[in-house]
């Protein structure tokens, strides 16, 4: 497993969220979120379903709009300014629960599309980068197939490679293994661990507590739209402070 000491965390702030609130109509989904992510940090967010953890990370690249407070990503504040939003999005990679690969394009085209059209990288160069990352997620031989021909685990690794092709400074993972068969979870987690070891700033919404213990430097527990507890993994798992956290941990670690 990963050697946490190797993974450097710098003082530079990657993401700064202050006093953020969000509502869906009358429903208050995110309540007074305050959170600072340093560059190089690996953060795992967990919590019961409906606790707002996915919504929180979707706010970081503005797939969801927040109504109050401030989110600053890499020095750029997220407002209604479309230019800023596109800038942040091209610096922040996102991996989804259901992969969301583009089914009408081959794997290689999936990987080169954004670099070519957003980063304006020449096609040849984009393909080289794509092959490099496909090699890294260990499926270079699938480059010319379509997403529908791959297994779930392979698709999710392609999705990770697709994000990496944009050379992002931050990666967001939204329950990346929840839609996978148990035996495919490992191959995806291995890819994510490898990424963490290379010093990528990562925020993962996941229920894989083994992954949290192995690579996270901080675990955040959310309930009812609020951050209930956050701590380094060892403390978090062995000595949870709040009753809600204890209950949650007993439920997911109990079996």
């Amino acid at each position: 497993m990963a050697d946490a000491a190797k993974m450097q965390i710098s003082d530079e702030v990657a993401i700064q969220i202050t006093g953020m609130n969000k509502w869906y109509g009358q429903f208050h989904v995110l309540r007074d979120i305050n959170m600072t992510v340093q560059r190089g940090e690996r953060i795992v967010i967990c919590g019961p379903s409906g606790s707002g953890k996915s919504t929180l990370i979707r706010c970081i690249n503005r797939l969801e709009e927040h109504q109050q407070g401030q989110i600053i990503v890499d020095g750029t504040e997220l407002t209604n300014d479309l230019k800023n939003i596109d800038k942040v999005r091209s610096e922040v990679g996102m991996v989804f629960q259901h992969f969301n690969l583009f089914p009408h394009l081959t794997i290689l085209e999936n990987l080169t599309l954004a670099p070519i059209w957003v980063r304006k990288v020449p096609k040849r160069e984009a393909e080289e980068t794509a092959m490099y990352f496909l090699q890294k997620v260990k499926i270079p031989e699938q480059a010319h197939k379509y997403p529908g021909q791959l297994s779930g685990g392979q698709q999710q690794r392609v999705a990770i490679a697709r994000s990496l092709c944009m050379k992002p400074r931050i990666m967001l993972f939204d329950e990346p293994t929840s839609a996978l068969d148990p035996e495919m979870i490992k191959e995806v987690l291995d890819t994510m661990i490898q990424l963490a070891q290379e010093g990528m700033t990562m925020i993962c919404v996941t229920h894989e507590m083994g992954f949290a213990q192995a690579v996270a430097n901080r675990v955040i527990f959310m309930d009812q739209g609020q951050i209930v507890e956050q701590n380094e993994p060892k403390e978090f798992f062995s000595n949870p402070k709040s009753d809600r956290t204890k209950l949650f941990l007993s439920q997911i670690l109990g079996h």
């Binding site: 999005r89 989804f96 969301n100 690969l101 583009f102 599309l113 059209w117 379509y146 529908g148």
Partner: protein, 485 residues
């Protein structure tokens, strides 16, 4: 039989059984008949009933087809020939009418010495469609272009085109064939020029009018490029459109006259009321189809837009057009449109009809495409957004290719409907093949009383064209099937 060790409980097979053919009732035609035609008492009854119906139809219609007459000068002569050949009570088809009047079904009153122009335009239509229909597929492209070449050689010869036209047309198609081998993508330039070329070929007049009209698009693009760094994309596009409209309204005609007096070159002008038959149907149909798709896409996107005014305009337009019969719009085209236009402008009737048919089809297409857009999982939008693609790129690269693919069957249905609806232009006095031309033929003293033949002929041609579109859409669906579900 093999030894089965009947005295013991255990069982061991000593020699393996060879495979045997299935019984007769489970094989070939008999099996097929049993399963498909005679599987239940109800099916047996239906099969027998079906056979009886087919027999009755053939019994009454077959003699009519078999007694067909191809050589005659009038319907009464046809009937005499049928009576002489098959007895006084026999009936027979009189295809001699088609033999004599085929050109009116195809060209209307287009002057015979100019037939080479629509013939050429029709051949080049496929050359222009080739790069769109078979993008990047060299083999299909080459086959289609060779077909166009063969068609042009034959029909231009039959239409008596002059040597210069013959040489130019063949050179053009040969050049495209060559280009298809090296850079098939470049063929799209011809597709862009084709509308102007065809407009000039069909209506004739000075060669400068299509060129100067196309220059309007260059003006649009130039203004857009110059203005976009100064005032932003959307206002620049608006300014470009305004500039182009001004160009067409005020500068177009004087420039054409000037160029024509300096460098005169023209072919005889043909007025719109001489157009007719399938020439008219295809002109309206093809123009309507090619312009309604982009407008339909924009309307579908507009309907989903976050911008309230854009959304309401799109919804209002779609609902209005869909709520009104096409005939109403055509009457508007022929009568009312004149009142709304600046005095002095005389809009061509075919052009007016084309505009309204296009808008009509666009409203239907917008709803069809909206269905395709709605069928896409929201994850596709999110993934495109998360990669930093802006709205138009996300639409063009991710959303529309998938949404259009889902909607292909419905889009082609709309196209087929549009093409068949072109016959409705008969109601505003244009000579469509079904009503207009047939009426003219039936009004002729020689062919008075002919009934089935013209409709069968026109119907058969419509069927061929629509069936072709339908087959192409199925091919396209197969080609684009990448989801492997």
């Amino acid at each position: 039989m093999s030894e089965t060790h009947a005295q013991t409980v255990g069982f061991t097979r000593n020699d393996m059984l060879p495979p045997l053919p299935p019984p007769v009732t489970e094989r070939g035609a008999i099996k097929w008949l049993r399963e498909n035609l005679f599987s239940t008492p109800l099916n047996i009854a239906l099969t027998l009933f079906g056979i009886a119906v087919i027999y009755l139809l053939l019994q009454s219609a077959l003699p009519w087809w078999l007694n067909s007459v191809w050589n005659a000068e009038s319907l009464s002569q046809c009937r005499e020939i049928v009576a002489a050949n098959a007895g006084p009570d026999a009936s027979g088809a009189c295809w001699a009418m088609i033999r004599e009047r085929w050109h009116q079904f195809l060209f209307g009153f287009y002057p015979p010495e100019e037939w080479w122009r629509p013939v050429l335009a029709f051949g080049l239509l496929f050359a222009a469609l080739a790069p769109v229909l078979y993008s990047g597929q060299k083999r299909s492209l080459t086959i289609l272009l060779c077909g166009v070449l063969a068609y042009l050689v034959l029909t231009l010869y039959l239409a008596g085109a002059s040597g210069v036209v013959f040489a130019l047309a063949l050179l053009l198609v040969l050049g495209m064939l060559g280009l298809a081998q090296v850079q098939p993508g470049k063929l799209l330039w011809f597709t862009l020029l084709y509308p102007a070329l065809t407009f000039w070929l069909l209506w004739g007049g000075s060669i400068w009018s299509p060129i100067v009209a196309m220059a309007g698009f260059a003006v649009l693009y130039g203004v857009f490029r110059l203005a976009s760094p100064l005032i932003g994309l959307a206002p620049a596009a608006g300014a470009g459109v305004v500039a182009a409209v001004l160009w067409w309204l005020y500068i177009d005609v004087p420039v054409v006259e000037m160029l024509q007096s300096a460098l005169p070159f023209s072919i005889p002008a043909i007025a719109s009321d001489q157009f007719g038959g399938f020439l008219l149907a295809i002109v309206i149909g093809v123009t309507g189809i090619s312009f309604s798709l982009p407008i339909g896409i924009l309307l579908a996107l507009g309907r989903q837009s976050d911008m309230l005014i854009v959304k309401w305009l799109s919804v209002g337009f779609i609902e209005f057009i869909r709520g009104v019969p096409l005939i109403t719009l055509l009457f508007t085209a022929s009568l009312l449109l004149q009142y709304f236009l600046p005095p002095g402008t005389n809009f061509d009737i075919i052009l007016r009809v084309i505009i309204l048919v296009t808008l009509f089809a666009a409203a239907y297409l917008a709803e069809v495409i909206r269905g395709g857009l709605a069928a896409l999982p929201s994850g596709q939008y999110e993934a495109a957004d998360a990669l930093g693609l802006d709205y138009w790129r996300a639409q063009r690269l991710i959303i529309l290719p998938q949404a259009l693919k889902i909607s292909i069957p419905a889009i082609v249905s709309t196209f087929i409907g549009l093409f068949k609806d072109t016959t409705l232009v008969a109601f505003v006095g244009l000579m469509d093949p079904l009503k207009g031309v047939t009426q003219i033929v039936r009004a002729d003293i020689d062919w008075k009383g002919i009934y089935w033949e013209p409709y069968i002929f026109v119907g058969a041609i419509f069927f061929l064209i629509c069936f072709g579109m339908s087959r192409y859409s199925m091919y396209l669906e197969r080609k684009l099937k990448t989801d492997h579900r």
